[in-house]
């Protein structure tokens, strides 16, 4: 902890993962006089530190880095530009007037105030309770990320024979990691009819090691009293109901859950930030400002990204805007145009766009599709019947974020629009 912790900062960033680090660095570079980063872990870097596999940074650095290496570049930058940080400290509350209540192993309880606040708490894994898995409650049922922390950081392998529920990236990466550590992964089950993680992880984590993936399958119940002894797998129909007669007992001692991530917004809610029920994150504008003036949100706290590079980019935008807010201490009364999810789009982030932003920078609209489309698609932004911009993608999959960028040339159209509705449709 910084010994001379002040009571007031230009920008306070809550969370020191990739979103928080990018926001803090960018805020400082954009002129914030002082930036404080608070994190409950003992080190800066967040969950990247347990993601020891490579695949990070291809977009940001044009290099293929491991999670810890990716984090370390930003940690280095944060220290170089003079970000203050307070580790092993838990933020208990954020008030609507930007007061942050913190308790830490060093420093005790403090109240610090940020002219601007950046929420960068990341996301949490869905747990057994949230997917309502029936059966007894033996030891041996963990989220994939918890197992990842044990295996990669703390040095414990939590079982010998694993079944993994969910084909998200963390689940597949853990299947490979456990295989490397001598465990046997009996099966990966996915309730959806498609892979939910990146295709390349299917190749390099499952196919490479002959780990069987079963789509449209789930865990019907867990068997075992003190420790998991087996799980009963079953096929599901279109309505996600298990199909009688399809049950199979798979002996195993551990069940890992990789069943989705939810933006972590307990603090945002306490602060009074309005949340989008679809993403689970705050409603944000193109600068990632939430419904509360001066409170920004960076990275997975807004919606769950599949690449850290995009979290970094979002963090940079949020950090820059937070610094601008802190320097003028004003709320710009801006007319914003709402975005909307059209055909085959589940949600769009940001939720509103200030057209004036387009005079100086581009605005990326990010979305997830509802249904996979394995042929060429058009991503189109419409205002009513008027096409504003569009682009072609080779395919669209729910597991991979889709984006389209509004540029300077779109300024006039966006300014006059009632709504920016995005749809993803088959290319004729």
């Amino acid at each position: 902890m910084n010994k001379r912790l002040k009571t007031k900062y230009d920008v306070i960033v809550i969370g020191a993962g990739p979103g928080g680090l990018a926001a803090a660095i960018e805020a400082k570079k954009a002129g914030a006089a002082d930036v404080l980063m608070i994190d409950r872990d003992l080190e800066l870097g967040g969950i990247l530190l347990q993601c020891i596999h490579n695949g990070f940074g291809v977009e940001t650095f044009k290099e293929d880095l491991t999670g810890p290496s990716y984090a370390q570049r930003f940690i280095h930058d944060a220290l170089t530009v003079g970000i203050e940080y307070w580790l092993d400290a838990m933020v208990l509350d954020v008030t609507p007037n930007h007061q942050v209540y913190v308790t830490g192993s060093q420093g005790g309880f403090r109240v610090v105030e940020g002219t601007a606040i950046v929420l960068a708490m990341g996301c949490r894994e869905r747990t057994r309770a949230q997917i309502q898995l029936p059966g007894p409650r033996p030891a041996g049922v963990y989220t994939a990320g918890t197992a990842q922390r044990w295996v990669n950081v703390e040095g414990y392998v939590p079982g010998k024979n694993f079944v993994i529920l969910g084909s998200g990236d963390i689940g597949m990466i853990m299947a490979r990691r456990l295989t490397f550590e001598g465990a046997k992964v009996e099966r990966v089950l996915e309730v959806m009819p498609y892979l939910t993680g990146l295709s390349r992880n299917y190749v390099q984590c499952l196919l490479d090691f002959d780990i069987q993936l079963q789509l449209r399958h789930t865990v019907k119940r867990i068997i075992g009293r003190n420790r998991v002894e087996a799980i009963e797998a079953a096929a599901v129909d279109e309505k996600w109901q298990t199909i009688p007669g399809s049950e199979e007992i798979i002996p195993c001692d551990t069940l890992l859950l990789s069943v989705g991530l939810i933006p972590e917004n307990e603090l945002s809610q306490k602060a009074g930030v309005a949340l989008d029920p679809i993403t689970g994150g705050p409603y944000v504008d193109e600068g990632f400002q939430t419904s509360l003036p001066g409170v920004f949100a960076a990275g997975n706290v807004v919606h769950v990204y599949d690449l850290v590079d995009w979290v970094t980019r979002a963090g940079q935008v949020a950090g820059r805007r937070a610094a601008q807010y802190a320097q003028c201490e004003c709320v710009k009364e801006a007319t914003t145009i709402p975005t909307a999810a059209g055909e085959n789009v589940r949600y769009v982030v940001p939720h509103r766009v200030n057209p004036e932003t387009l005079t100086t920078e581009e605005v990326m609209l990010q979305m997830r599709v509802t249904q996979p489309m394995e042929a060429a698609v058009r991503v189109e932004v419409y205002d009513g019947d008027t096409l504003i911009t569009r682009k072609t993608e080779r395919y669209a999959r729910p597991g991979e974020m889709v984006s389209i960028t509004l540029k300077g040339k779109d300024y006039d159209a966006v300014r006059q629009a009632q709504t920016l509705a995005v749809r993803v449709v088959r290319k004729e």
Partner: protein, 124 residues
């Protein structure tokens, strides 16, 4: 005789689905790739498949008991488990520097295994 098969390129997160036509290890045609690395990937998969390998090694006196490590270049796929066995026998001492060579010329492949991060000494 030439055969056509589907491969998913793992070079970048895009994960292009490739249709590769080849005769033995001679690539005749690749379709579905968005960049030239797709064709290179097919060639490598047919002749010398390689993967980046990331794992951990033991650390003495560090803030954590393990340090994450990775291969400096993609490693021959058939020898991954041999490499993991070799790394299980490696133990390094804190402080560790990011990029530090943890295992030089692993299994005589010419590929070094490097530390993924700094690992300071534990305060205790």
């Amino acid at each position: 005789m030439s055969v056509t098969e589907k491969l998913i390129c793992i070079t970048c997160p895009m994960g292009c689905t490739l249709e590769a036509t080849h005769e033995g290890s001679t690539v005749l045609n690749v379709e579905g790739n968005n960049c030239k690395r797709g064709a290179q990937y097919v060639q490598a998969e047919l002749t010398d498949p390689r993967r980046m390998v990331a794992t951990t090694v033991k650390v003495q006196g560090g803030v954590h008991p393990l340090a994450p490590v990775y291969t400096a270049a993609p490693f021959p796929k058939p020898r991954i488990f041999e490499l993991l066995d070799a790394l299980r026998r490696v133990e390094i001492a804190a402080p560790v520097q990011m990029g530090q060579v943890v295992l030089e010329n692993a299994l005589d492949t010419g590929i070094n295994v490097l530390a993924s991060r700094d690992m300071p000494k534990s305060a205790a």
